[in-house]
């Protein structure tokens, strides 16, 4: 059955755009609605595809929604990484851009928010912040948030995070400039008992970090249900290209991260290998052009 939930390419105005850390930006967008347009609405874990302000051929950039406000105003928290985000960083208040969304699935709401763990790395904190804030605003207990970054300058959202998570916010920095020195696994190890009590965990961050953190959680608490939010390259974000897939443990065909994800139960996915030239000569196999 064709789904009839409207999905829109929202024409947005930049309301605010500020630097909040080392190459970290906070972008506030206000959708300009045409008559009949549904208000922009989204949930924790979902993302949008941001069109870049250039006539040059490009893919849109997938970005998690950090938070939404009245009238569908929403925020994106992003890191200047390559050419696309560098272009985004030039946006000025008043500038216009197209944002397709909301896309993807959502985190499943924790049965027991009190004991739930949010584990974030770098800009992976965005959807976890959304989840924490949503729980808090709906009057639920706030989960603990474990956040690992390189250094203090990489945090960006310290104030809003503190506002939402209060004492439940735990930060680790590689260089020890804020919170616990070390990576997020060191931090988790320090909170072993919380982990053992938790029923649910939500992880978002770089792949290596998600892999390590989910393994650690599983070791400490074999019964924990962990969801991870994956970051695959997304040419379309709309399930059209089959480019963004993740292989699954429970089925033959890999899943499109943009429509079946980005959130997956960790035990259902096969972590992508980091070896660009796997043994067996795959790298030199004649490419199948259309594909």
């Amino acid at each position: 059955m064709p789904c009839d939930t409207p999905l829109l390419d929202y024409h947005c105005h930049v309301l605010d755009h500020r630097t909040v850390g080392n190459r970290l930006k906070l972008l506030t967008l206000r959708p300009v609605y045409a008559p009949g347009d549904p208000e922009f609405h989204c949930e924790a874990g979902q993302f949008v595809m941001i069109d870049l302000p250039t006539p040059v051929f490009h893919f849109r950039r997938p970005m998690s929604v950090l938070t939404t406000y009245e009238s569908g105003v929403f925020e994106i928290f992003y890191k200047i990484h390559g050419r696309g985000t560098a272009m985004m960083a030039e946006l000025q208040p008043g500038d216009e851009l197209n944002v397709l969304g909301p896309l993807g699935n959502t985190f499943s709401l924790p049965a027991d928010p009190d004991s739930a763990l949010l584990v974030g790395g770098g800009i992976g904190i965005a959807p976890l912040y959304f989840l924490g804030k949503a729980l808090k605003e709906s009057g639920q207990p706030v989960p603990s948030c474990y956040y690992g970054v390189r250094s203090q300058r990489e945090i960006g959202l310290l104030e809003p995070l503190t506002q939402v998570f209060g004492d439940c916010l735990h930060i680790a920095t590689d260089d020890g400039s804020c919170g616990t020195p070390g990576n997020v696994c060191h931090l988790l190890n320090l909170h072993e008992s919380a982990i053992r009590q938790a029923k649910e965990a939500y992880i978002c961050g770089p792949t290596v970090m998600m892999k390590a953190a989910s393994t650690l959680l599983k070791t400490l608490n074999p019964a924990i249900r962990t969801e991870v939010s994956l970051e695959e390259h997304m040419p379309c974000g709309t399930g059209a290209c089959t480019g963004c897939v993740v292989f699954r443990t429970d089925r033959l065909l890999p899943s499109k991260t943009c429509v079946e994800g980005p959130v997956f139960p960790v035990e259902s996915i096969v972590w992508p290998t980091d070896d660009p030239f796997p043994r067996g000569g795959n790298a030199e196999a004649a490419a199948c052009a259309t594909t």
């Binding site: 051929f57 050419r83 290209c241 089959t242 790298a283």
Partner: protein, 317 residues
Amino acid sequence: MRDDVDLGVEIGGLRFPSLILNASGCFNPSLFHRVTPLETCLGGIVTKTVTRQPTPGNPQQRTVELPGVGMLNSIGLQNPGLDDFLDREILELAQYHLPVVLSISARSVDEFGEMARFVMEHPHGDGVKAIEVNLSCPNIAKGGVDFGNAPQTVRDCTRIVAQTFDRPVFAKLTPNVTSILPVAEAAIEGGAHALTAINTVLGSAIDIRAKRPHLRRVSGGYSGPGIKPIAIHAIWQIHRHFPDTPIIGVGGIADAADVLEFLMAGASLVQVGTSCFRDPAVFRKIREDLRQYCQTEELARLGALTGCAHGEKMLTS
């Protein structure tokens, strides 16, 4: 100004209400329908390429953005297989009330025939209004050389499908050949009602920071604006030599002006692939702009433009 513009076209007895289709493997009907109702912007739906058995496809990285010029993909024909398509997906597609073109690929000539027969015999098979034979896939019997590379295999694959399937058959040609004319001719001899041109162009790109290819499989299919001149050349040549065979033009189309270029070069229908990744509403925009063009140019039938750049034809409006 006329408002009774006909954007449609008929091929092999099958009528497409508009000559703008999606390209195989670059589309998601259910999600795109939520952006723009498909009936209002497409003339038909081309499925992603389906194989006999479910195919998991290639490992990541499968795609690369090539700024300015397009992209590379090496998806590896991921699809849930023909059973799943006919049991399930074809029923979903029926909801859009558009002709469905099934793109198929196989590992041998016989398997192409088997797939066509399977469609004929399946209770939902009549939902398939035409078959597009994707020839850009490796022929296992010939050590993995693509069927599309040699006239003989193009002829054989097309023929077995055309002889088995009682509706129109389109042969989708690869541009990765020394000349497209022998393979086009072979497909026509094999009984193709139309030729789809072009599939992706072989290309590669290196990640200079990581000092390795972007794609896990090194090379992949190049698509997007950068292949448009190659597509136009292919279509011009085919139309020049086989003016009676309709061409479904594809490769780099991003706007109505591109569609006009394809039609004038000799295409009867067009498909839009890569450019809908950035803009799922591109089909609607193209359709609106083409309707506007016909009105301004006082053209009753958009299809009348087909081949008009060849000079010898009169343009009837």
